[in-house]
Amino acid sequence: MKTVTRGLRRVLELAVLVGLYLFGTALASWLGWPVPGGVIGLALLLAAFATGRVQPASVQWAAGLLLAEMLLFFVPALMSLLDYGALMRDAGLRIVLVIGGSTLLVMLVTALTVEGLCRWSVRHEA
């Protein structure tokens, strides 16, 4: 009986997160906002935590599961490579070089900027 209630609870937790996403998507299209539904759902859930009526612990299991397995949800989009075989043979290496090179630069600059600003603000607080 205990496992049944726990299972039911977990399904309910997932349903809350999916529901918030669907509601966010509907709201965005109704208002004509170009914001993804997930971002609106995220904002709503944060607002619910801020009121103090909803505890983060009440959706912790489902949130943990979705975040832990997020890599799986990215695989289908990668498979769109199936339709671009010719392009990838022609320009694939150059595209990978541009993306790889640019991404390395972005990471380097971002990390050093954040680190620098953090140290600066710590010095100024002290």
Binding site: P34, V35, F74, A77, M79, L82, R94, I99, T103
Partner: protein
């Protein structure tokens, strides 16, 4: 009848390949065994010889991609738990995001020109650092192709998640904030998943930065269109 014509074959096959590669990766944590690389490699090795089109694959497997929406909502939990850290360092994060975005746009355009890629491809490369739902319409208004932009976003995530780990090894970063922002700005979703492996705080920062990057790019979109069109 071919096995792959069974309903939901590709969905089940994707999940199975992921679960197996994740187990292998836990046992032997090497980059080549990372589920983000292994799972599509196994799937492509089966799908390409069978001449499967993306539409056939997606008909089964798009349910998985749909879960990215609820996963975005789920970020509310770690963001709320780390709210004090984020409130304290919002300026550093904003600075990193602005610098990172400028470098993303500038360096993609510069490198694409250097390697003489066609205009249509270059224009689809520019909005790459954005998450997919934001990047696709932006690519079109820049004169690129939405589907190409989606592929480039994915490649950015994969390459970024892989290089980011290597970069962390020789960059002397003392704060979890910088390590998280590196992944969140550089490799969005896939980077966030990778940052969560590095540490809980890194994962939270990366997730928050990814969401904020999407919003920032929404504001910066018109500026890009003005610069490039």
């Amino acid at each position: 009848m071919r096995l792959d014509a069974l309903p939901l074959f590709w969905l089940l096959f994707t999940v199975a390949a992921y679960v197996v590669s994740r187990a292998l990766y836990r046992r032997w944590p090497r980059y080549l065994l990372s589920p983000l690389l292994m799972t599509p490699a196994v799937l492509l090795a089966v799908a390409v010889p069978l001449h499967v089109r993306y539409a056939d694959y997606a008909a089964d497997a798009h349910y998985l991609a749909l879960m990215l929406g609820p996963a975005t909502v789920a970020f509310a939990v770690p963001i709320w738990q780390q709210r004090h850290l984020l409130a304290r360092h919002w300026l550093a994060l904003l600075g990193g995001m602005l610098a990172g975005s400028a470098v993303a746009v500038g360096s993609s355009w510069w490198l694409a020109g250097l390697l003489s890629l066609e205009g249509e491809i270059s224009r689809s490369l520019v909005p790459r650092s954005v998450t997919t739902p934001f990047a696709m319409p932006l690519a079109e208004s820049l004169g690129g192709v939405a589907e190409l932009a989606a592929i480039f976003v994915m490649l950015t995530g994969v390459l970024g998640a892989l290089c980011g780990g290597v970069l962390l090894r020789w960059l002397p970063l003392k704060t979890a904030l910088a390590r998280g922002a590196l992944f969140g700005v550089g490799a969005h979703g896939a980077g966030v998943a990778r940052a969560r492996e590095v540490g809980g705080e890194e994962g939270t920062v990366a997730g928050l930065v990814m969401v904020l990057m999407g919003l920032l790019n929404l504001a910066a979109g018109p500026l890009l269109v003005w610069l490039f069109v």
